[in-house]
């Protein structure tokens, strides 16, 4: 992402800070991705929709970008693109999410990913 700091002056880049994960802790903790997307929309809709914008997500951030994009109306919004990197198609992750939620411990999750990440 740091390479994007040389972006042309027509592009304004923003990094998303997840509530209670960084210094920004005024927003309640989200229990799941859908709730996180809901809170994001509530807090930021008018700001990011004031000009054309692109959602970019890396890895699991891509999944969040996808979930948020789904919450925008099909017409009448300024969303131009959703770019997802280092992440499988979110549509393929539905079964994966069910599998994750049924796992009992964090060790099992780590074991699941020990084969080489999500890509």
């Amino acid at each position: 992402m740091r390479y994007w700091l040389d972006a042309p002056s027509t592009l304004q880049l923003y990094a998303v800070r997840i509530p209670n994960r960084t210094n920004y802790s005024d927003t309640p903790y989200a229990e799941n991705l859908d709730e996180l997307a809901e809170i994001f929309m509530r807090d930021n809709y008018s700001f990011i929709n004031s000009t054309p914008f692109v959602l970019y997500g890396q890895c699991l951030g891509g999944l969040m970008a996808y979930e948020i994009a789904r919450k925008f109306p099909a017409t009448g919004c300024q969303l131009k693109r959703v770019i997802v990197a280092s992440c499988p198609s979110p549509l393929d992750l539905a079964a994966f999410q069910r599998e994750i939620s049924s796992l009992p411990t964090f060790d099992d999750v780590k074991r699941l990913f020990s084969g080489g990440g999500t890509s």
């Binding site: 807090d43 000009t51 999944l63 990913f113 999500t118």
Partner: protein, 175 residues
């Protein structure tokens, strides 16, 4: 005259007047709303030209200053804002703003750009600091925002993503 796409309506203020500056920047085709580069004054604000001009005029009237003396980089306090003029200024800004502007917001404002941000986007300087969105670069004339979602797994300290191997080899999917 504007021809709106079906399903869209003109943005209006809380007093049901059309937000002309928003129409200029978001509804007109992009080649029309592209900000002009002011080569003579590269430091001057030249995006949202209409609203900047309107705000400058309002500040001039309320603060009793000539328009050309309202610099982009001076706070409203430096320009002579008092508790009485703040009330008058809030009233005038609310006439052109979709968002409610409060007198307390004005005291935090450090430059004209922040007034524009407050009026156009409803974000106070303090609000921007505490917002989800951390600006990564300074592009005052931007026409597009890119919202970057970091890897949540990395942020959660769950070492579930093998970044060292996957980042370079990842196939970037564009929807």
């Amino acid at each position: 005259m504007f021809i709106l796409p079906s399903g869209e309506s003109l943005p209006v203020t809380r007093k049901n007047t059309v937000m002309r500056h928003v129409v200029r920047t978001s509804i007109l085709p992009s080649f029309v709303s592209q900000p002009r580069v002011d080569n003579a004054n590269p430091g001057q604000i030249n995006s949202n030209e209409g609203i900047v001009r309107d705000i400058r005029k309002i500040l001039s009237e309320v603060l009793k200053l000539p328009e050309d003396s309202i610099c982009d980089d001076k706070s409203l306090i430096e320009l002579g804002l008092s508790s009485l003029t703040a009330v008058e200024l809030v009233g005038k800004l609310n006439e052109i703003s979709l968002h409610q502007v409060l007198a307390s917001d004005l005291y935090e404002i450090k430059n004209l750009k922040q007034v524009v941000t407050l009026v156009v986007e409803g974000i106070t300087p303090k609000g921007l600091e505490n917002n989800w969105l951390l600006p990564l670069n300074n592009a005052p004339n931007h026409v597009t925002k890119i919202i970057c979602f970091p890897d949540l797994g990395k942020m959660l300290n769950l070492e579930i993503c093998n970044f060292t191997n996957s980042t370079k080899a990842a196939k970037h999917q564009i929807f």
